[in-house]
Structure formats: structure tokens, C-alpha cells
Symmetry: C2
Subunit: 319 residues, 2 copies
């Protein structure tokens, strides 16, 4: 039986990971962007880990070693930031190839350190090994005020769905690169996490958050399933940058498909009470309202031209 | 310039990782078995990470998925235990192949959980992706009483060098498997970390510790270099099990070479003041004295038949 046959990556994890684990220090475990652990008197500890594999998460054909290192750190930082946390300590495992050059590794580390410095992260441990393919993993620790942590499961029917920045840029850039076309590829080559203070501004008002790893459709589905709600996304409201719209035009594609099913934009999707939106906008206003959490019997839907339709398929490595 | 040309994995890390990082919470960073971070009022946090790659750290030809999962967790646990800590929370990243079967993953997870339960570890997060080769990474958090943590750098000239259990069993078993020979392979297939209470017994009396990942020669070299001392290992005292001695005989090899240059025995090597040895033996006695830390101008040597000789080459993925 293959992983695709059992229903893909998320189903695999659902079957194999045990969630009924009890430890007084463990506040949130498997199934959120970060685990949440009791830490000091005033702070909780956030922990996340992200693995990147050659020719899947990055390609030597179009990314520099510097960009690869930077993206790995940004992906991890985004998980901590979207939970209202401040990233602190990183642990880097690298699987190199026998013929990987010193220059490659040196550039990769410069990228890791550039992102780490931007976000105040210290790289304090790791492991080095080798294989037939480049694989990089970061485990990142952060800290968060307990009152600020927002689980995926906190949304309630009636909450609005917000998203920071614009979406689809990373996927659109990747599609250009795959087709050997020129254009705006920087959103794919150098995706950026939101900053910790932006994540905290969101978390002070939101009830549930998730970062955009796999596309808006997948992230809203996670929020709704974990919260036991339904959700509707207003197709017209999905924010795409001018560059993403232009890229989609060049490729004869729909920019909102990149936003819904692309991923790796490292923006924050959040469920927020309607009456908290204007308060958030006073402190931080780079976000759009793109939908609403509903009762669970409403299902998870897209509203487009006044009609409801189901989401297409999100990103799953094995589906 | 390749990694071998610059001098291998340890030299690579020496060049690329920055150690001059300052954060009040960071007590020990890059260059020990674990990073040490300030945690609660009474405890510090230990963090380690280990990556295992198909056909390097394990082989589907002779290891079951269960054994692979177990070995990955034991390797990480050993890093925490050798520093006097109690392992607590694990984060598992897995890179699967498109054709990896559900049964494989299910067995692998059973192995991870079997080891986790033995050591009181909870698996609370991770990442799943895919590539052309199986790669597994665990990041493990543990806790330690600040007074018990023993850095690699704490040894002093005159300290004796102790090692728990016996050495060389993993490397000897691997050599049997590579040569399609029958015999005692379990030390390679299912290497076991020492238990947390054994690690604590050692750390209460030792001044410096390290676990056996790369062979006794490599570990003693790390202790001496980090402590600014020399070291001498008494060849005759290196403990090998009867099974390892028999395996070496079958293969026409020297069992002590497996101990010195093999690795992955997950025992603890430690520097201990001579007058603390008998006290340790009253609480825990599965250890041997195999050498002595010396002044740095003595260098790092093996004493064999009354003569001194340099170590051979330890294990380095790129040297």
C-alpha cells in the first residue's frame, strides 16, 4: 500500500502520530505549526521543524546557495511568527553530496545566517552528514507570551478570515522558472516570513492562526477542521500582487489558483472576530479579509460569482 | 574545492559556524553533544539533532523499519543522556520516497515510539516530505539540572578516561553484514543509548563527557581538543564484548580497531578525577578506565605494548 493510496501525507500522519500524550509541560503537540511547551514563569516555548529537499523545495537550476539557506530559515521562522512568537535558537541538519563544493556550503550558510540575523535567531547546533541528494532541516525554538499563542483550533463560526500581504507569488514564480520564462521570480526565490512584531499584532486580536505553507485552500481547511467549523472563502477578495497577476497573464493561468493551491508564501492566515478588525488595522494594516468561518454543516467552500463551490486539491507531497 | 579537500566535516563546521554568539539564555552552543539553554528556575534545556540517511546510517538490506526508527531515537537520546539530562520532547522530520510503502512507515514509527517510550520521550511535532532517498531527522529536547551538565571542555590533565559498557559492537556487526556473514549483528541493528539515570550517575562525578558516535579515538580527541589537554588511551584496556572479539576473529580483524574507529555504540566517554572513580562504581559499575587526560604538550596518543603511537583516522563523512 503506498502513501498516495492511503490518502496522502496528512492522512499518513493522522494514522501514525499519537496525540493522546500527557505531560504537564506539553500544552500543544502534533498538528499545529509549532509545539507549545511550558518554559519560564512568563514565557512558553515554541518548537517547529522544517525539512527541505533538493528538486522538491528548491532547485540548483535557479536558486543560489544563499537563497536556499535563506528560504530554509524563513520557512521555520514563519511557523513561530504566525503563533505570536519570537524565534530564538536554530539547529541545522544538513545532508550533503560527496561532490558538494565548499563554495556551495559557504553560500548556503551565509543565507541561513542572513535570515537568522534579520529575525534575531542564533544558530546553536546541528548535524552534518551525506547522501545522494541535498537535504536540509532546521529545528527552531522560539518563545511566546502564553496569552498570545493562537492554536489552529481556536476559530469560531462568524469569525472573519484574514490573510497578511499577498498570496500566490511563490507558486507563480516557480511556474515561470519551470517554463524557462523571464519575469518576477523573486517571491519564489526569496520568500520572506512576516516579522515577529507583525505576528504578535495579529495574534493579539485573532483567535486562530496558521502560516501559508501549502496554499490558502489548504490552510483554511486546516483552521476549519481543527476548529470544528466550516469556512467560506470569497474568491474575489483573495489578494494577489500586481506581479503575480502579470505572471499569471503571461502563463495563461489564473492568479488566484496560485494563491489557493500554491503555497510557500509564508503569510499568516487568521480567524478574527469582526469587531477586532479595525483595532488590528490601527496597528498593522497589511492584510485582507478573504472569508468567514461558518457553522460546520456549511462545509468548506469557495464563493465565486455568487455561487458556492468546493476547493480544488491543495498541496500534498504524496496525494 | 570539495569538503574532503578542506579537511572533512569537522573542519567544514569549524569554518562555517559562528561561535561568538551572545544571548543571556545560551549557555553552551555549537560544538558539544547538545546545546544548553536557560529554561526554568531549576532546570536547563538540552537540545540536540541527529540526521540519518539511507545507505549511510542504515540499510534496507539488513535493517527492519522498526530498527531504523529505534536507532534514530536512540542516537538522539544518547546525546542528552551523556550530558546528564533527561530526554523529553522529540520532533521528527522524514523524507520518504514516492514508492515508500505504508507498511515501511508504520514499522518505522513503531520503532521510534518503542524507543521513545523506553526513555520517556514524547513525539510532539515534525515534518513530512519526499525525495529520492530516505532521510530522517530528530530534534530532541531534554532537561538537566544545571549543576549536572558536563561539557566536552571540562577535562583536566590527570583525569582518568572512562567508558561505559563495551565498544566496537556496532562497527563489528556492520562489517559482518557488509560481508554477508552470519554472527552477532544486533549491536549494529539495535544500538542502545544508556539510560538517563546512568548518564546522571556518570555526570555527578565526571568533569567532561561525550557519547560514542564516531569511535573512541574521535571522542577522546574531541574531549582533549575542547579541554585544551592531551590524552593517552591504554590500548589493552579498551573494552570489547566477547561477541565483538569473536566477530573480529571471524573477519580476521582487530576488535579494538572497531572500538577506536567504528562508532555508533552510544556509550559514554568521560573524564573523571581519579578519586571519584570508586564513588561512581558504588552507584554504577558498567564502565572501564581506558586512559588519562594529560598536559596538552603530550598530544593525543595510544599506548600499546609500552609504546606510544598516534591514533588512526576516526570517522568523518567527508574526509
Amino acid at each position: 500500500m503506498t502513501i498516495a493510496e492511503i490518502g496522502g501525507e496528512f492522512e499518513l500522519l493522522r494514522r501514525l502520530t499519537r496525540r493522546d500524550l500527557a505531560d504537564p509541560a506539553l500544552k500543544v503537540g502534533v498538528g499545529d505549526d509549532c509545539a507549545l511547551l511550558a518554559y519560564t514563569k512568563d514565557l512558553d516555548l515554541l518548537v517547529t521543524t522544517d525539512m527541505m529537499v533538493e528538486d522538491d523545495h528548491f532547485s540548483l537550476h535557479w536558486q543560489t546557495p544563499f537563497q536556499i539557506g535563506m528560504k530554509l530559515m524563513e520557512a521555520n521562522v514563519s511557523d513561530v511568527v504566525c503563533k505570536g512568537g519570537k524565534p530564538k535558537f536554530a539547529f541545522l541538519s544538513i545532508c550533503l553530496k560527496k561532490d558538494t563544493s565548499y563554495d556551495f556550503i559557504e553560500g548556503f550558510y551565509r543565507g541561513v545566517y542572513a535570515s537568522a540575523e534579520k529575525h534575531g535567531v542564533l544558530l546553536v547546533g546541528g548535524d552534518t552528514t551525506h547522501g545522494s541528494q541535498l537535504v536540509f532541516n532546521i529545528a527552531l525554538l522560539g518563545e511566546v507570551e502564553p496569552a498570545l499563542f493562537r492554536p489552529r483550533s481556536g476559530a469560531r463560526p462568524g469569525d472573519l478570515i484574514g490573510v497578511t500581504g499577498t498570496l500566490g507569488g511563490s507558486a507563480a514564480g516557480l511556474e515561470l522558472l519551470r517554463n524557462n520564462r523571464h519575469g518576477h521570480t523573486l517571491d519564489h526565490l526569496e520568500p520572506k516570513s512576516r516579522l515577529a512584531e507583525e505576528g504578535r499584532a495579529v495574534c493579539r486580536r485573532a483567535r486562530a492562526t496558521i502560516d501559508v505553507s501549502d496554499g490558502l485552500a489548504s490552510e483554511v481547511t486546516h483552521l476549519a477542521r481543527e476548529s470544528g467549523t466550516g469556512a467560506v472563502v470569497y474568491y474575489e477578495n483573495i489578494p494577489c500582487s500586481a506581479a503575480t497577476i502579470e505572471t499569471a497573464r503571461l502563463l495563461g493561468r489564473n492568479p488566484k489558483d496560485f494563491a489557493l493551491y500554491g503555497g510557500e508564501d509564508f503569510q499568516i492566515v487568521f480567524a478574527i472576530p469582526e469587531d477586532a478588525v479595525s483595532d488590528l488595522r490601527r496597528e498593522f494594516d497589511d492584510f485582507s479579509i478573504v472569508g468567514e468561518m461558518t457553522a460546520s454543516d456549511g462545509g468548506i467552500r469557495l464563493e465565486r460569482n455568487g455561487k458556492f463551490e468546493p476547493f480544488g486539491k491543495g498541496f500534498d507531497h504524496f496525494a
